[in-house]
């Protein structure tokens, strides 16, 4: 084995891959070969580092230099200057990693990473996910060995119970209790399932985990199998995640080869096998009974519970189903003990939670924070605040099932109970920031459109109710709404929540209810003033020409597709509001800033 003096870690998550990181890896190999350095420098493709906004990202160890937005042209400079001559290429360094003295800080001290505590993401961006040896070197499969050789199944369940771990997929049900229910069933055939059908738009932690650390999921599922007495597992993963599916396949093959999956694992007599099932794109399949229907080969429609899956699940057998992030915590808990996990977080929400920061925020990406960290800390300190000098308006958590949190509640701690109190939910951990340019009625309508499309159609409150709700919102954003409509919307929301069959319908009105609670004035402005305060809703927009600034150059009238602008050369022009289709072409064309939209 060669002794390697330098490691070059290149992010191979989806964000960085889309930003061309595979080409960087090829270029590194080429440049290193050229200088005959390939034996002493190793280039590794890792999972997501988290700071997706600055991708593609390259980290060079042992220095820990964090290079951001690296282009193929930059590679030869990094190899020549840094790797060969030992001079860090300062111009490519992530700004946050330099202190006042222009000295390089360690990554853990940067604003983005300082407040994070990475348990689920412990291996993402650290190891090569396609190499089982690297996972083992980082305590991988130690938890499985410990459980199979020195713990009874009940002790495994007790450990998970004692850790206080709750499901990270949305509802926050205690994981240990779920396992206990399934373990109590007397049945020779049981199943363990993993929900990797991440459908919440704007959340991508499950995918990053599968891409960055697939072995931790395999290990956790084997542990769950041992705990409840199941010998077969299924990972239900979105087909739209090709990189994740591929790495998971590689990981399963390697685990089988090493004897961590298959017959008589660690000589304990315990057998466990794992198969992948591809989801086919249906948000409702995140609901556990729908997911199992889909694995069985049917339409992914939920069914009433009870019986719960722990009693009667996949193919009618007792089944444990957990989300990817939940599983990612399990090996850590078994290996480090439940106390270490329970020390982190709040009284009722233990441990950490991964959030996907997106929207109008400087540092878009993945962060993992202790439960109870406030929303303000996440957005302002870790996320770097709202870019372009715009004003923060709301943070949306929980995706289509969640709600919008206004500025006045920014000090809300991020845990299951506190988020529910302000009308939102933890959900799977999507966190989308909105600024003054976003219309909250439009956002509510956007989420509703999503749930209308994704409703499976089995129960009436969701299928018909959501459709009607969407119509009412459409009426308001087009300027035809009345104040009575707003009351009707509220009433309808509660009917849908109370009467829908599954979690999709029960939570789908949340974006509407929370925006109504915190941003009612925006709804009212749409109705009474026929005005969209954020200037988003097209039907309510009006374009005007400011007479003082108009030079009569005719540029706007020539570009107008409907001939709505009239006026003679060198005289002030005017827009005919009846003809105007609000395309905004005139405003883009005007060089004098004479056209405004209200």
């Amino acid at each position: 084995m060669n002794l390697v003096r330098t490691h070059v870690l290149v992010c191979g998550g989806t964000g960085c891959t889309s930003a061309n990181s595979p080409a960087l890896i090829d270029e590194f190999h080429k440049e290193l070969d050229k200088r005959d350095l390939s034996k002493e420098v190793q280039v590794i493709q890792t999972g997501c580092f988290g700071l997706c906004a600055l991708g593609p990202i390259v980290i060079v160890y042992p220095e820990g230099s964090f290079y951001s937005m690296v282009k193929v042209e930059d590679v030869s400079e990094i190899v020549e200057e840094h790797i060969l001559k030992g001079r860090i290429v300062t111009r490519l360094l992530y700004e946050g990693s330099l202190d006042e003295m222009e000295l390089v800080k360690s990554l853990d001290e940067t604003d983005f990473y300082k407040k994070q505590h990475r348990i689920a993401l412990r291996n993402c961006g650290v190891i090569n996910p396609e190499d089982i040896d690297e996972y083992i070197a980082n305590d991988g499969y130690q938890a499985l060995a410990k459980a199979l050789t020195s713990m009874t199944p009940q002790e495994v369940i007790d450990t998970v119970l004692a850790s206080g771990l709750r499901g990270r997929g949305g509802a926050g049900f205690p994981t240990g209790r779920k396992w206990q229910f399934a373990a109590n069933e007397d049945n020779p055939q049981k199943y363990v399932c993993c929900n990797a059908d991440e459908g919440d738009p704007g959340a991508f932690m499950d995918r990053s985990l599968l891409e960055g650390d697939p072995h931790s999921i395999i290990e956790a599922m084997a542990l769950a199998g041992y705990a409840i007495g199941a010998n077969q597992g299924y990972v239900y993963v979105r087909a739209e995640y090709p990189i994740a599916v591929n790495r998971l396949k590689i990981a399963i093959e390697q685990a089988k080869e090493y004897g961590f999956l298959g017959k008589d694992i660690f000589g304990s007599g315990f057998d466990f096998d794992l198969d992948i099932r591809l989801g086919a794109g249906a948000f409702v399949c995140g609901e556990e009974t729908a997911l199992m229907a889909s694995i069985e080969g049917h339409r992914g429609e939920p069914r009433p519970r009870p019986p719960f899956p722990a009693v009667k699940g996949l193919f009618g057998k007792p089944t444990v189903l957990n989300n990817v992030e939940t599983y990612a915590n399990i090996p850590w808990i078994i290996y480090h003990g439940p106390e270490a996990f329970a020390e982190i977080g709040t009284e009722k929400s233990k441990g950490t939670k991964v959030f996907a920061l997106g929207g109008k925020i400087t540092n878009t990406g993945l962060v993992e924070i202790p439960m109870g960290t406030t929303l303000r800390e996440v957005i302002e300190e870790i996320g770097g605040g709202v870019p372009n000098g715009k004003k923060f308006k709301a943070a949306q958590t929980g995706g289509p099932s969640g709600g919008c949190i206004p500025e006045s509640l920014l000090d809300t701690p991020m845990d299951f109970e506190s988020l529910a109190e302000v009308g939102s939910i933890m959900g799977s951990g999507g966190l989308i920031v909105m600024d003054e340019d976003n219309c909250m009625v439009d956002i509510a309508k956007f989420f509703l459109q999503f749930t209308v499309d994704e409703s499976c159609g089995k129960c009436v409150p969701c299928r018909v109710g959501m459709y009607r709700l969407h119509e009412l919102l459409e009426k308001i954003t087009s300027g035809n709404g009345t104040l009575e409509d707003i009351d009707l919307i509220e009433e309808l929301c509660y009917h849908i929540k109370e009467n829908s069959l599954c979690g999709l319908g029960q939570t789908a009105p949340n974006p509407v209810l929370s925006t109504l609670e915190h941003f009612r004035d925006e709804y009212v402005a749409h109705v009474t003033e026929k005005r969209c305060p954020a200037g988003v809703c097209k039907e309510l927009l009006r374009y005007f020409i400011i007479a003082d600034k108009c030079t009569g150059c005719t540029a706007c009238s020539r570009v107008c597709p409907t001939n709505a602008i009239s006026g003679e050369v060198k005289k002030v022009h005017e827009i005919d509001q009846d003809k105007c289709i609000k395309c905004g072409a005139c405003m883009e064309r005007c060089r004098f800033g004479a056209i405004v939209k209200i």
Partner: protein
């Protein structure tokens, strides 16, 4: 989302049919094999028209109506073929708040077909997709395997027009 019956005539071959039938027979004993079968069909033909659904129904013994129910339920399965150039505009939340709706409108305007459909010459298809997880690059759209991130409407117009010119030349 329009997912109407296709206008494009079916061009499947005997060899494809044999491959599909062999796949179905190989998996006939597996539990829950319908999804993998449909995924195989989608991958082979690029869509699952009535002709293919009939093959699957006859081979598996599952009623055609049920197969249609499954195919139309999942967004991965399509009843329309995809264009030579497949354009997908991400309409996940992160992209939407950064103006992906305007980008989709622009793409549809240039290509001349609505979201979820294909142009008459079969060159372009446009889809609004759910989050593709590249939220750090929002707003994002893809043309076949190429990903375009951090785009605005003007840049989108340039990129799409380049493909239109390429399509005309081919």
């Amino acid at each position: 989302m329009p997912n109407l019956k296709t206008k494009v005539s079916f061009k499947g071959t005997k060899e494809q049919e044999k491959e599909l039938v062999d796949f179905i027979r190989a998996h006939s004993q597996d539990k829950g094999s319908m999804m993998p079968i449909l995924q195989k069909a989608q991958e082979m033909y690029g869509y699952i028209p009535e002709e293919v659904q009939i093959i699957i129904a006859e081979e598996t013994g599952v009623p055609l109506s049920e197969i249609y129910g499954i195919v139309s339920f999942y967004s991965q399965f399509t009843l329309n073929p995809k264009g030579k150039y497949q354009i997908s505009v991400c309409l996940g939340t992160a992209c939407y708040v950064k103006g992906a709706g305007d980008i989709l409108d622009k793409v549809c305007e240039i290509i001349g077909c609505e979201s979820g459909s294909i142009t008459d010459d079969g060159m372009f298809s446009v889809d609004a997709t759910r989050c593709i997880g590249a939220c750090g690059l929002a707003p994002v759209f893809t043309v076949n395997e190429s990903v375009y991130g951090r785009v605005d409407v003007a840049e989108t117009e340039q990129i799409i027009k380049k493909y239109v010119a390429e399509a005309k030349g081919s």
